[in-house]
Structures are given as structure tokens and as C-alpha cells.
């Protein structure tokens, strides 16, 4: 059945809170729910398990750690991806570290939801894609669903996972419709989705960029260039095997990522492919990313920095020569 992206995520929250009373939800404006993802949950599950919070990101992230350590499965809605930075002590020094520091005693089954990405003139403090920062921490799973089905399935997997999981929602995509399988639908972490197959190049697109990569792949196909289009779906764990197998077949790699270029997920994937599939490569692995620039407010200026189908298509063509 077709469902909007935000509705599919909302459905996952309803189902998991229904299934397990240890799942609790708190965060800024989870009642008002400007993104629609947490709508109706307070009415359905009550104010014990669903709580609006003060705007105290660092404490909220630390509380998720404490509540998880004490036996609950907290879901924290952090609102915007940039607020990862605001909450960073609790994320980088506590959430990502405590399991190792306690010799594996502490299990932290918690989920943090945050909406990321630019393109909406939200300016530079509400437009970042913070997944590279999270990938670099270690100890935190990172899901980046690109469509309704993965939105539902990955969130259910995150909530059931015994490790800290960030669930990064594609900003501005809440109303997009997508087919969601009926009944129980769970998407395992670490399993990339191959969206189309081709022999000429491997196109890896992350989160928000999958939509643009699909358009680019369609345009390329019309010109006789066939690509493998791969959506990794989770950045931690990352399904390197699927990407490496594809590159060994095609000999060319383009990675599209809304992160800034330096130490992006794209640069990590390119580095691993260069190291492990070097002899298969017919050209240097290529990245289509945001330059190391803050996303500006003015619409045209912002748009010029975010990867789009034209840039992706041009990069693939340049590789093929």
C-alpha cells in the first residue's frame, strides 16, 4: 500500500510502541510534530511514555543513554540533524563510548531520530547531513532511509536493535508517497538495496540523494549507459560487500552524498573501493558531494551546492569518457 514517508515512519513508531511497552518517546515538540512523524503518539500512548521536553539537547541525549541503561528502549526525537552538534558530548563521549568503557556491560537499545538535509532555505544551522560525524564516532548505527518502505522498516529495526541507532530522516520528503509492504515490515541494518542494474558504472547514492540518482540513472539509460544503482540504506553498518561486488563488475564508481566532501561517507566509500578493488577500476572513484561550504539561505545559492541529477549524470559520463 502506498504511504507518505512521514506516515510510514509514524506507523513504525505506533507499531513498536504497541508491541513493546518499554519503548518510550521523548523530544522537542513530539506532540505538535512539525514533521508529522510523531503525530498522534501522545494521544495513543499517553504522557508517561510520550513526552514533550524542554529544548535541552545535550541532556536529552544523555537521558536516552541513562534510560536505555536502565532497561527501556527510548526513542529521542532530536528534531534537526544539526542538533547532533548541540548534543555532542552525550553522543560522542557517552552514547558511543560507554559500551566499550564498561567492558560490554552496558547495552544501550536507543534510537535517535533527526531530520537532515538542505534545499529548503533553512540556512546553515538546519541543513546539515551529519552522518559522517556519526560514522566517525564508532559504536553508533546510522540509518538513512530514502523511501517510505525503508523509513518504516529501518525504524522498526532500529528500535529493536540493542545498540544506539541514529535514524536520519530525509528533510523535506515527508509527503512523498511510496509503496510499503503490508503487515510486519522490517529492513535489516547493513543490507544495501540495489535499485537498478547495469554494466557501465556503479552509482551509490545516500539518503536524500537516491531520488536524484534515480533521475540521473534514467537519463543515462535513455542514452544507452546502464548503471548499478545502490542505496546502502544504513551507513553503519555499511554493506561494503554489495558495493565492492558491483564495482568489480562495472569498473567505475560514483558516490553521491549530501554531506560536505571532506571525510564524507562518499570519501570513505571511495577510499575502501580504491583499496580493495583497485585492479578492477577503469577510472578513479568519483564523488558528487556538497563542497566544504555552509549551505546558504538564498535558494539559488543553496541549490547550486547540493548534488542534482545533472551533476550526477555528468560525473558518470566523465568517468566513462
Amino acid at each position: 500500500m502506498k504511504k507518505r514517508y512521514a506516515a510510514a515512519i509514524n506507523e513504525a513508531l505506533h507499531e513498536e510502541m504497541e508491541r513493546d511497552e518499554r519503548v518510550i518517546l521523548f523530544g522537542e515538540d513530539v506532540e505538535a510534530s512539525m514533521f508529522g512523524d510523531t503525530a498522534g503518539l501522545l494521544d495513543r500512548f499517553g504522557s508517561r511514555r510520550v513526552r514533550n521536553t524542554p529544548i535541552s539537547e545535550q541532556t536529552l541525549a544523555g537521558m536516552a543513554v541513562g534510560a536505555a541503561a536502565a532497561g527501556y528502549r527510548p526513542v529521542l526525537h532530536l528534531m534537526f540533524g544539526n542538533f547532533v552538534y548541540t548534543a555532542m558530548d552525550a553522543i560522542g563521549n557517552q552514547m558511543a563510548r560507554i559500551r566499550l568503557m564498561t567492558g560490554g556491560q552496558m547495552t544501550l537499545p536507543l534510537t535517535v531520530i533527526a531530520v537532515y538535509g538542505g534545499g529548503r532555505s533553512s540556512a546553515a544551522q538546519h541543513s546539515d547531513a551529519p552522518h559522517p560525524v556519526l560514522m566517525n564516532l564508532g559504536g553508533i548505527n546510522v540509518a538513512m532511509p530514502a523511501n517510505s518502505a525503508d523509513g518504516k522498516g529501518l525504524l522498526k529495526a532500529a528500535i529493536r536493535d540493542d545498540n544506539p541507532c541514529f535514524f536520519l530522516e530525509a528533510g523535506g520528503r515527508g509527503a512523498e508517497m511510496g509503496e510499503v509492504p503490508d503487515g510486519e515490515h522490517i529492513v535489516p541494518f547493513g543490507a544495501a538495496s540495489v535499485l537498478r542494474e547495469g554494466k557501465d558504472a556503479t552509482l551509490v547514492a545516500i539518503g536524500t540523494m537516491v531520488k536524484h540518482a534515480r533521475v540521473a540513472a534514467d537519463n543515462l539509460a535513455a542514452a544507452g549507459i546502464e548503471v548499478d544503482l545502490i542505496d546502502p540504506r544504513t551507513m553503519v553498518p555499511l554493506d561494503y560487500a554489495t558495493i565492492l561486488a558491483s564495482v568489480k563488475k562495472t569498473g567505475r564508481l560514483v558516490v553521491v552524498d549530501e554531506a560536505r566532501d571532506s571525510c564524507s561517507a562518499a570519501s570513505q566509500i571511495c577510499a575502501v573501493v580504491a583499496g580493495q578493488a583497485f585492479s578492477a577500476l577503469k577510472a578513479g572513484p568519483a564523488r558528487v558531494t556538497v563542497p566544504d561550504v555552509s549551505l546558504p539561505y538564498a535558494p539559488v545559492a543553496e541549490k547550486s551546492l547540493i548534488p542534482n541529477p545533472e551533476r550526477i549524470e555528468a560525473r558518470v559520463r566523465a568517468l566513462i569518457g
Binding site: T59, G66, L100, G103, Q105, V272
Partner: protein, 336 residues
């Protein structure tokens, strides 16, 4: 400052607190020696002089109650029931350590005892305690959480955030501030405006000041706050005035060009040693005899000796242990 009019601990409770304080002191005195001789892999931040706080508060706590601690966390760990042998092995970086040698002195934790960890980040444990207090509130079984922290943490912004949310949600949480006068090497009064307790008062929760070198006074004050939290009446703040007799960390003298505390100040506080004062009080009251005290010292000397010997003989953690501990369900792969 001492609330002498509060109901105090019974003799058996006093003896238990003396045991706790003596154990902490015995363990840390050895850690001090071993640290200065370079026998430990990392540094240690000792609690010597503050033992009455951990003993007086943790005397009221059960295994299900949660605490978070600070970089100066050995005392809280031991007072809450953590194993001395497992702590010693941890500080020696051994696989038999309570955290398998992965955390060390600043991160001793025993989740089975409700010890959610000492913490290397000033104020880093506070929100974890608040989250544990939320869990206790949802459990509805009268559990509580205690956030131990110092005057340094009270200057971190999250202190305000946690006071606020604990008060708004009426959480069963005790903010246990140990004001030992120094944040690292800086006198607290030189970097702190106003009084710390007034910050907590602003959130409308009960606030108590207590002599942190008086175990009975701490016990009596903690009793009020913890009973209140167990009854669902919400958080409290306690500020214990105490003093860190040792440095910020052992061996600091080797790194600092000049002392930052007057010798007279340290000596004055040694004269107010919480354990010596407690022994004198309990002996005078006939709660313990000098022989009992000597027996305790002998018992803990043996505990420490055995803990150190066992730690020295214990195996090191394997080099691939860390990669296996990051996640519950997989080992981190090397991709480079």
C-alpha cells in the same frame, strides 16, 4: 551546617559506613603508592578525604537504584557495592577488571550493582542519572537515581538542564554535589559566581547543605532526599562541603611547576579527616572498640594486598577485545 537535629543512623548502620570508608581509604592509599611508583598504566584521581559522602549516601541505596559518578569515582563504586578486586584489576588494565580493562580508573562501572559508571567528562554522568531516574519513575517501584558530581560540574550548562527537567518531571533523582573546593587545579571560588545551592533552589526543589566530612550528617540528609524520591515526591539537591586531600590526580606534582594549594590548607583538612573523626565518635559512643578498628584495618590490608596480587597476576585483555565490544551483535571490521 551539620543538621544535628536529624534522626541519625543506628549503630549497625554506623559500623557499616565505617567499613565502607575504611575500604575506600585502604584501596586508594595503595593506589596512591602504586601510581607514584609508576605501577599503573594510567592516572588515578583519588577520593581521599571525601569518603563520608559516598558512604553516607550509598548506605541508603539498593542494587536496583542507579548512580552515576565522576572521574573521582572509586569511592562511589565501592560504597555502592562494587568489587574491590574487580576494581583493582580494572585499574591495572586487566581482562579480569570489572570493565575488562577497557575503562580504567575513570570509568569503573558495575551495571549489576546499579553503578552506571564513573565518567571522565565533568558533568557527563548527570543526564545519564536523569535518564535512569526517568526509568525508575516509569518502573513505579520506588527506585531512585543519584548523580554524584562536583563543584566543577555545577559550572557546566547541563547542570541547569538536568535540574530543570528533573523538577518538571518530578523525577526520583538526587543531585549530590560534592563541593571539594577545587576544579582540577583551580580554586572553585575564583571561577564561580554566587552559591551553587542557589542555582538548584531556583528550580523549586528541596536543597540541603551538609558537612561532607561527617558521615552521620550525610546519612541523615541523604535519608530525607532519598525517601522523598522513593515516595514519588521528586528530586532534591544536596551540597556536601568537603575537601580533596590528595591532588586532582596522583603524580600531578611532577607536571605542575608550583603548588596551587597552601600546605597549611591541606593540613587543616587532614585534621578534619572524615574517617579519623568518625572512628573517634564511634569509639567514644561505644559503637566500636579500638580493637574493632584495628581488625578492620587488618582485614582491608589483606583485601587490598590480595586484590593487587591477583590483578598483577591476571591476564591482559586480548588486542581484539575492543573491536568486539563496540556493538552487541558484531565485531567492528578493519576496512583500511
Amino acid at each position: 551546617m551539620t543538621k544535628t537535629n536529624l534522626p541519625g543512623p543506628a549503630p549497625d548502620q554506623q559500623r557499616a559506613m565505617l567499613r565502607t570508608m575504611k575500604l575506600i581509604r585502604a584501596m586508594e592509599s595503595r593506589l596512591s603508592q602504586d601510581s607514584l611508583q609508576g605501577l599503573l598504566p594510567g592516572t588515578v584521581h583519588l577520593y581521599i578525604g571525601q569518603e563520608a559522602v559516598a558512604a553516607g549516601v550509598c548506605a541508603h541505596l539498593k542494587d536496583d537504584d542507579k548512580i552515576t559518578s565522576t572521574h573521582r569515582g572509586h569511592g562511589h563504586f565501592l560504597a555502592k557495592g562494587g568489587s574491590p578486586a574487580a576494581m583493582m584489576a580494572e585499574i591495572h588494565g586487566k581482562d579480569t577488571g570489572v570493565c575488562r580493562g577497557m575503562g580504567g580508573s575513570m570509568h569503573v562501572a558495575d551495571v549489576s550493582k546499579g553503578i552506571l559508571g564513573a565518567n571522565g567528562i565533568v558533568a557527563g554522568g548527570m543526564a545519564i542519572a536523569t535518564g535512569a531516574a526517568l526509568a525508575a519513575q516509569l518502573d513505579g517501584k520506588g527506585g531512585v537515581a543519584v548523580a554524584f558530581f562536583g563543584d566543577g560540574a555545577a559550572n557546566e550548562g547541563v547542570f541547569m538542564e538536568n535540574l530543570n527537567i528533573a523538577a518538571v518531571w518530578n523525577l526520583p533523582l538526587i543531585f549530590m554535589c560534592e563541593n571539594n573546593g577545587y576544579g582540577e587545579f583551580t580554586p572553585a571560588h575564583t571561577v564561580t559566581a554566587g552559591r551553587l545551592i542557589d542555582r538548584a533552589r531556583a528550580f523549586g526543589m528541596p536543597c540541603h547543605e551538609v558537612d561532607g566530612n561527617d558521615a552521620d550528617a550525610v546519612w541523615a540528609t541523604a535519608a530525607i532526599a532519598i525517601e522523598r524520591a522513593r515516595a514519588g515526591e521528586g528530586p532534591s539537591y544536596i551540597e556536601a562541603a568537603t575537601y580533596r586531600i590528595h591532588g586532582h590526580f596522583e603524580a600531578e606534582a611532577m607536571m605542575l611547576k608550583k603548588p596551587y594549594r597552601a600546605a597549611e590548607e591541606i593540613e587543616a583538612w587532614r585534621g578534619r579527616d572524615p574517617i579519623a573523626a568518625y572512628v573517634a565518635r564511634l569509639t567514644e559512643a561505644g559503637v566500636v572498640t579500638p580493637e574493632d578498628v584495628a581488625d578492620l584495618d587488618e582485614e582491608f590490608a589483606e583485601v587490598v594486598e590480595k586484590a593487587v596480587a591477583d590483578a598483577q597476576a591476571a591476564p591482559l585483555p586480548s588486542n581484539d577485545l575492543a573491536a568486539s565490544l563496540m556493538f552487541t551483535n558484531r565485531t567492528v571490521e578493519v576496512m583500511a
